[in-house]
């Protein structure tokens, strides 16, 4: 597969490591989350047959983590963005 890196252009997916569903970016708020929230976050997945947002780590390249929207039935990629532009906005001081 070829992932169109927002900064580097088309790169072979072999340079990347798949880190799983982009849902993993939505880590529960440790202040308010219930055990059920943590369970759902860590263990339940939408696993759609169709558009799937997932994380690809450019380990063999610039080490960016990308959010790739890819159809799991055709493997067609429709969107790629940098994760850190979309990551969780936690107050790092907390």
């Amino acid at each position: 597969m070829i992932i169109n890196h927002p900064l580097l252009g088309p790169r072979d997916s072999a340079e990347f490591v798949n880190l799983g569903a982009a849902e993993l970016m939505n880590r529960p708020d440790p202040e308010t989350a219930t055990p059920e929230d943590w369970h759902d976050y860590a263990y339940l997945r939408d696993n759609p047959a169709g558009a799937h947002r997932e994380l690809w780590f450019h380990e063999g390249g610039d080490r960016s983590i990308l959010i790739v929207t890819r159809d799991t039935t055709t493997h067609e990629i429709t969107a790629v963005e940098l994760a850190r532009n979309r990551g969780q906005r936690h107050d790092p001081g907390k």
């Binding site: 597969m1 070829i2 072979d12 490591v17 880190l19 993993l24 970016m25 880590r27 529960p28 440790p30 989350a33 055990p35 943590w38 369970h39 860590a42 994380l55 780590f57 380990e59 080490r63 960016s64 983590i65 055709t74 493997h75 067609e76 990629i77 994760a83 850190r84 532009n85 979309r86 990551g87 969780q88 906005r89 936690h90 107050d91 790092p92 001081g93 907390k94």
Partner: protein
């Protein structure tokens, strides 16, 4: 050495003779021949045996779809089973052997199966061989296995080398027949980057096999001229002998180029084959079409072949399978074969055409409305039985029969992304469907454009369309444009033992039985009868089977469906798919900075991930590894030892939020760690399980050097990047690996400070007061070399780790050895390191096994409740905190001479020994020279409260059962006085 069936002309060099052997017998051929064409020219029709019935077989085709004429090519370690004689390019000295026969090709004892074929019908083996139960594996299966299979492996390592590479282009054209050449000209002249790949060693496709004129010259000459023009274009890359094996996602094709298969051996340093990953913006499939057969009784004898293949042998290779041939056809194409062979002087015994209105010929007899009903000839065709239009029978004497049932477009690559071909009524065949792989288009016969003009035009048009070329289409060379007229005709009425899949011996009768037993979907038919599962992947057989199933079900062929084709297009050597990644080069090797020095010292090395580490350093006279390891441990604990620990992952963590970041990734706290101090850190996965451990040294307010274990370095770094980029994107923290930048050595033992004081520059105080336990800092050594010093200990001794830029690592090790002579300094390897860490009770990879928690490791209280860290919440789940949860303990044998085995299970001293009564297991074990017996670390249920208890350690798989005592995991210096000395 006479080539009795050699004709004149063709694209072979009649003036040069190549010698080769088949089954030990010597023959001659010419450059340009394939093994099959040369054998046919030498009047050899029998080239193989079928899989199940061991029926004698000759070539059915002249190409890569060949199911019958497959041989073992070459000998010794280069023996290459199942090689198609029809594509093997002849070279001087080629040797080939027939396969799947015993004792010889002409007399094969296993042909007895053919006599019992009525018992060996489709799926018979599912219904029998069940009694008595034990007999299947002991009696029946060994016999079946022995009989099965085709060619043999040499059982030796493949001596040849393979390469892999990458190429990019605007347009990849697959197939260099008229459509492909026309497309390449169009795109090449437009200046586009074109790759033209063809599986044949001679480009031109069917133009080489036909007598049609193109642009008023012989088609083959036009092809030669066109190839010459293309090769002069710098933007066009011609890749003959290159099979595109698969069309993968996003326009990536796999292609195998045969570099040296037409040579006796590859030139030194050159590969046998190369796997190219071709990245094409557009792909144009011009793979042509495959002729299809007609099923009739005994249609598999040597000499019976597809009519267009017979024509290719005559026109391109100047060979005929026999001096006297007949044709069986349902379309005009069969007549072309008769014409061309007749023109070459081959006697045409008759053209049997099922059509009552078949065209007549002045040159030979045409039997209109006639059918072949049976054939004769044990090892080669002798007679053909024909039922004439009026129902009377006639026997025709001939040595070969060309069969033409029409053509199937080669749609294979269009299916590789699970697209399905669509039935085309006009062609009476499957043609590329609507769901092509993105970026792929199809032209020429592969798309149903069967005439030469049609192929030339569709190739040019498709190239223009794919590349978005504007302007007027250039004129095409003049060529024949015969209309397509294919009437479906699959089998001759009344036949039973009529072969559909020739290699796997699937007959019309088998398909009928499959239907009768309810195996009616295409997938069931294929799996039950093995139709289409042979090495031709059904190229010559699927359509016939489908047609018969459709007829039985009273459905149309497209209603029954089609099996889709999977990669590879033709069978592909496993060697080329691996490339250079084999032997010692399977994975890259990482060498430590002291590697060359250790080699000089005679160290024994061990693979740790991709690293090679010194395992121990044997001294003269030491005959057993234990002697070396015990000595290294003892000497280190007595004075000082040095170990290369560069392999630990080192990550530079900087930024104003560096401490906050570490607070998140480690379960214990780092915010308050003082500059100049180091702290042990335990990293959890989000699910609360320990992932990795190491140390973080605070070199500045905003800089830490974090170490990871050798094994987990990549994953820990990846995890930290995930936290940084996905969970804390606003934090000011930067990460970079420095693992290889620094040579890092552990200097351990009571004299370690004394040794280091000899090299550390005097500006730096490394006394216990000036540089206490867990201190760290930047220093200089040996008069000014920048270095880092950490006072950390894995061995339990007074110890330091010292790091210098990697290029000085070799010199530093030599300096430490020289300066350490007065202390009898000892280099130690990973074994001694392991012994000392077990003696000290430090967890390592065997304990951090991906299922253990901080609590299991005895570090439950380290998981800070005062802050949020990765894994802290899910580590609170009840299943991970049960009262009798596994806790790390030390183990020593009650009888000190007894052995302790890692992987042994712990049972109560008395009571049953089984899984239900399992108390835990041993993770690590070693002989402790310090204690004089074996010791172990393990996980024991409620282990924290069971010190002093005697247990039984059992390891049935190594035949061990001993009594062990549960003790503290800290065998040596439990108070930690030494590390603080």
């Amino acid at each position: 050495m006479t080539q009795a069936n050699r004709l004149s002309g063709g694209q072979i060099d009649h003036n040069t003779a190549l010698e080769f052997t088949f089954d030990g017998k010597r023959y001659a051929g010419h450059p340009g021949d394939t093994l099959a064409s040369a054998l046919l020219a030498n009047n050899v029709r029998l080239m193989g045996r079928s899989f199940k019935y061991h029926r004698p077989r000759g070539p059915l085709t002249a190409g890569s779809e060949e199911p019958n004429a497959i041989v073992e090519l070459r000998s010794g370690a280069r023996q290459e089973p199942n090689t198609r004689a029809t594509t093997a390019e002849l070279f001087d000295g080629l040797s080939a052997t027939s396969q799947n026969r015993w004792p010889s090709l002409a007399f094969d004892a296993m042909a007895i199966n053919d006599r019992f074929s009525n018992f060996l019908t489709a799926g018979f083996y599912y219904k029998t061989f069940m009694w008595p139960a034990a007999f299947w594996e002991k009696i029946y299966e060994p016999i079946i296995r022995k009989a099965a299979g085709l060619g043999s492996l040499s059982m030796q390592a493949d001596p040849d080398e393979y390469d892999k590479g990458f190429r990019h282009c605007d347009l990849l054209i697959i197939g260099a027949g008229p459509a492909g050449l026309s497309a390449a000209l169009t795109a090449g002249r437009a200046g586009k980057h074109v790759i033209l790949a063809d599986e044949d060693f001679r480009m031109g496709g069917r133009l080489n096999a036909e007598t049609f004129a193109v642009a008023d010259m012989a088609g083959a000459d036009w092809a030669t001229q066109t190839v010459a023009e293309l090769s002069a274009l710098s933007n066009v890359r011609l890749m003959p002998r290159t099979t595109v094996i698969g069309a993968f996602d996003h326009g990536i094709c796999g292609a195998v180029e045969r570099i040296s298969d037409h040579l006796v051996t590859p030139p030194k340093g050159k590969p046998r084959q190369i796997l190219w990953r071709i990245y094409a913006a557009q792909t144009l499939l011009c793979a042509g079409a495959t002729e299809r057969s007609i099923a009739f009784e005994n249609n598999d004898r040597p000499g019976i072949m597809l009519a267009a293949s017979m024509r290719a042998y005559a026109n391109r290779w100047a060979a005929t399978p026999a001096p006297r041939v007949a044709i069986f056809t349902n379309n005009d194409d069969g007549h072309r074969t008769a014409c061309d062979l007749h023109a070459k002087g081959v006697k045409i015994a008759g053209v049997i055409d099922i059509r009552p209105d078949a065209p007549r010929s002045r040159d030979y007899e045409v039997l209109q409305g006639a059918h072949v009903t049976d054939t004769k000839g044990r090892l080669g065709l002798t007679f053909v039985d024909v039922r004439l239009a009026d129902g009377t029978a006639r026997t025709i004497e001939c040595g070969a029969l060309g069969v033409s049932g029409g053509w199937n477009p080669n749609v294979h690559l269009t299916c590789h992304q699970r697209g399905r071909p669509a039935w085309n009524d006009a062609l009476a065949a499957f043609a590329p469907g609507g769901t092509l792989p993105p970026g792929m288009s199809v032209a020429g016969a592969a798309n149903g454009a069967f005439s030469t003009h049609g192929a030339l035009k569709s190739g040019a048009d498709a190239a223009r369309k794919a590349l978005g070329l504007k302007g007027r289409a250039p004129a095409l060379p003049r060529a024949e444009d015969a209309p397509v007229a294919q009437t479906p005709f699959w089998y001759v009425e009344g036949c039973a033992r009529a072969w559909l899949d020739q290699q796997n011996d699937v007959t019309v009768k088998d398909v009928k039985l499959s239907y009768q037993e309810g195996f009616r979907s295409v997938e069931h038919l294929k799996r039950y009868t093995t139709l289409g599962m042979a090495t031709d992947q059904g190229k010559t057989s699927n359509m016939g089977g489908l047609a018969i199933m459709a007829e039985l079900a009273g459905k149309s062929i497209p209603e029954v469906g089609t099996t889709i084709f999977r990669p590879p297009y033709t069978p592909t050597s496993i060697g080329v798919l691996a490339g250079r990644m084999r032997g010692k080069e399977f994975h890259p090797t990482r060498l430590t900075p002291s590697h060359y020095w250790a080699e000089e010292r005679g160290a024994v090395f061990v693979e740790v991930g991709n690293w090679l580490r010194a395992q121990w350093f044997p001294l003269p006279g030491e005959t057993h590894w234990r002697q070396s390891v015990d000595r290294e441990v003892t000497a280190t604990r007595a004075s000082v030892g040095v170990c290369d620990c560069t392999t630990l992952g080192k990550i530079d963590v900087q930024g104003t939020d560096a401490a906050t970041f570490l607070n998140k990734v480690y379960c214990n706290g780092f915010a308050k760690l003082a500059v100049g101090k180091t702290r042990y850190g335990l990293m959890l996965r989000e699910d609360g399980i320990a992932m990795d451990d190491g140390t973080a040294a605070r070199l500045a307010e905003d800089q830490f050097v974090v170490t990871t274990t050798t094994a987990n370095a990549a994953r820990a770094y990846q995890h930290m990047e995930f936290v940084r980029q996905c969970l804390m994107p606003d934090a000011d923290v930067q990460l970079i690996s420095t693992t290889e930048a620094w040579a890092q050595y552990a200097v351990a033992g009571p004299n370690s400070r004394h040794l280091l004081q000899k090299i550390v520059d005097s500006d730096y105080d490394i006394s216990n007061e000036g540089f206490p336990f867990m201190a760290c800092g930047n220093i200089t050594i040996c008069s000014g070399l920048r270095a880092r010093l950490f006072r950390i200990s894995f061995s339990g001794e007074l110890a330091f780790e010292i790091a210098v830029p990697a290029r000085y690592g070799d010199a530093l090790m030599r300096r430490l050895m020289a300066e350490g002579e007065e202390f009898d300094v000892t280099p130690y390897g990973t074994e001694a390191l392991g012994v000392m860490r077990i003696e000290k009770g430090h967890a390592a990879g065997n304990e951090l096994n991906g299922t253990t928690t901080a609590l299991n490791l005895g570090m439950g209280r380290m998981v800070s409740k005062a802050k949020d860290s990765i894994g802290s919440k899910l580590s609170e789940r009840p299943g991970l905190n049960e009262a009798d949860t596994l806790m790390q303990v030390g183990l020593r044998p009650v009888n000190t001479s007894d052995k302790i085995t890692a992987g042994g299970h712990l049972m109560r001293a008395a009571g049953p020994v089984d899984a239900a009564h399992d108390q835990g297991y041993v993770t690590s074990a070693a002989f402790s020279p310090t204690l004089g017996c074996m010791i172990g670390l393990g996980f024991l249920k409620d282990g924290g409260n069971r010190h002093g208890e005697t247990l039984r350690l059992v390891s049935p798989v190594t035949d061990l059962s001993v009594a062990v005592e549960v003790v503290s995991a800290h065998f040596v210096d439990p108070e930690g006085a030494r590390v603080r000395a």
